[in-house]
Symmetry: C2
Subunit: 282 residues, 2 copies
């Protein structure tokens, strides 16, 4: 592997660049970003070795790391433009629409649909760091549609970054992620909103907030440019997750209103089992 | 200060004992717990120096650290029993009912209503540690009703534990805490429940959960013995917070269903201001 090109030099694209360069010191990493500030920062921070407006003909891998709603058109344009030995990987948080969009593209074999389960509540190239992807899960979809030879390049990069690979179909991915990622973001944003509305009356309310509040509201700091598109791109699955969540909240509301301590206790004890499940995932 | 007595030797009572003993090596710390396992662990771990079924006559401070629904009767019993130079402090997460209950007690001046904003998702004496209270906020209510001389003992203990004192009336406390603590726990428990229900269909869903999910669902590991009583004791305030939260969730549900990206973006950008507010609290 000699050359990769990254489109979108934010937290995720930037961390891919830093991680790859640390592992392959000779690697040329070209890149582009719609924001000239991000592009300049990416050069200053050593995320890329050179700014380029598109991938060179001899690029091994093009990484697409832009917001979810921009990836469809960008993927088609990039496939249209690249040379015959180049693989395109996207890192988007939703996969179904994207895979559908290029299903009949003449260069479909040069595309690999990926989603690394990695991020923080911060964004932009300054938030990027080389270890972000270390030991994280990388979900790959429709592997069978990607050229075998090109996939080997991808594996080489993923192994260098210490990613743990998982395989599933795009619909399954989007259904699962709505529950274990997208719903968490919606719940956290709305929790932040609810407390901020209350704060309009009581200025000092945050002074009393402990680590529990900070933990549940952390994701409310996340980037709207990334998250607004995810919510609309994965609409149906997120609505299903959200409806289940609202229904559970209304159920516990009823038990609190009735003062039904025993039932609240039983519910919480049952939900406590999430400890073992979360620990299993480690 | 020579002697304190702790009733309820879990995470909070245990950490008070460990913190106080570290600062005052000569201090006698007696204690009791309804669970014989907890009592034995508290002795083994050095939380208490001696098990006692009630506070000695010459005890300086009795600390009540049991679940919220048990504190009312326990407070009355303890006030009835203690000597004339003893102060009783409770550490409960709700304050209004408790303050009302003893408002006409002949020994009201020997009581101080407190709530340290400190805890973890773990419980019991084995979860206790001496630094839990270090630099945490301690809310005190109805200070004017406590004897001045006895308050000095409390200040000495709080200063030793490095607690930051805040003062407010019990109703204000309960109203605020519903938003910045109790609501977070309800939202986290219900998030855990929603995803566990989904998991009944898709076994491997947690494999895809990242740090964001872990953060929002952390409080779902919390103790039902502690939290079921809080939810019923502070019922009215929690219902108000929960209604605001459900209403916000229904509002964002509508925007997602409409695919209204612009409005979602604007909402999230506004909620992002919670960054500055949370940082201010540090």
């Amino acid at each position: 592997m000699n050359k990769i090109h990254i489109i979108g030099l934010g937290l995720l694209g930037g961390s891919f660049g830093l991680g790859a360069r640390r592992k392959f010191p000779e690697l040329k990493v070209t890149g582009q970003d719609i924001s000239s500030d991000n592009l300049r920062d990416a050069q200053t921070l050593g995320i890329i070795t050179e700014a380029k407006e598109q991938a060179d003909e001899d690029t091994d891998i093009v990484i697409l790391a832009t917001p979810a709603d921009s990836l469809g058109d960008l993927l088609v344009q990039t496939l249209d433009q690249i040379g015959p030995e180049t693989l395109v990987i996207d890192l988007g948080s939703t996969k179904s629409k994207l895979c559908q969009k290029v299903t009949n593209h003449p260069k479909r074999k040069q595309y690999l649909a990926g989603h690394p389960i990695a991020g923080t509540e911060y964004s932009g190239p300054k938030a990027a760091f080389a270890d972000l992807l270390d030991r994280k899960v990388m979900i790959l979809c429709e592997m069978e549609k990607t050229d075998l030879h090109l996939k080997e390049k991808a594996y080489q990069l993923f192994e260098a970054l210490n990613l743990k690979l998982r395989f599933m179909d795009p619909e399954e991915h989007d259904r699962h992620l709505a529950f274990v990622s997208h719903l968490s973001h919606v719940s956290s944003f709305m929790l932040g909103k609810t407390v901020m509305q209350k704060m309009a009356d009581d200025k000092n309310i945050f002074d009393m907030a402990g680590s529990g509040f900070a933990s549940t509201v952390r994701l409310a700091k996340s980037s709207p440019a990334m998250w607004a598109p995810i919510l609309t791109e994965n609409k149906d699955n997120i609505l299903a997750a959200l409806d289940g969540y609202i229904s559970n909240l209304q159920d516990i509301r009823g038990k609190i209103a009735e003062g039904d301590s025993d039932s609240l206790y039983q519910d919480m004890a049952e939900i406590n089992k999430i400890r073992d499940i979360l620990d299993l995932g480690k």
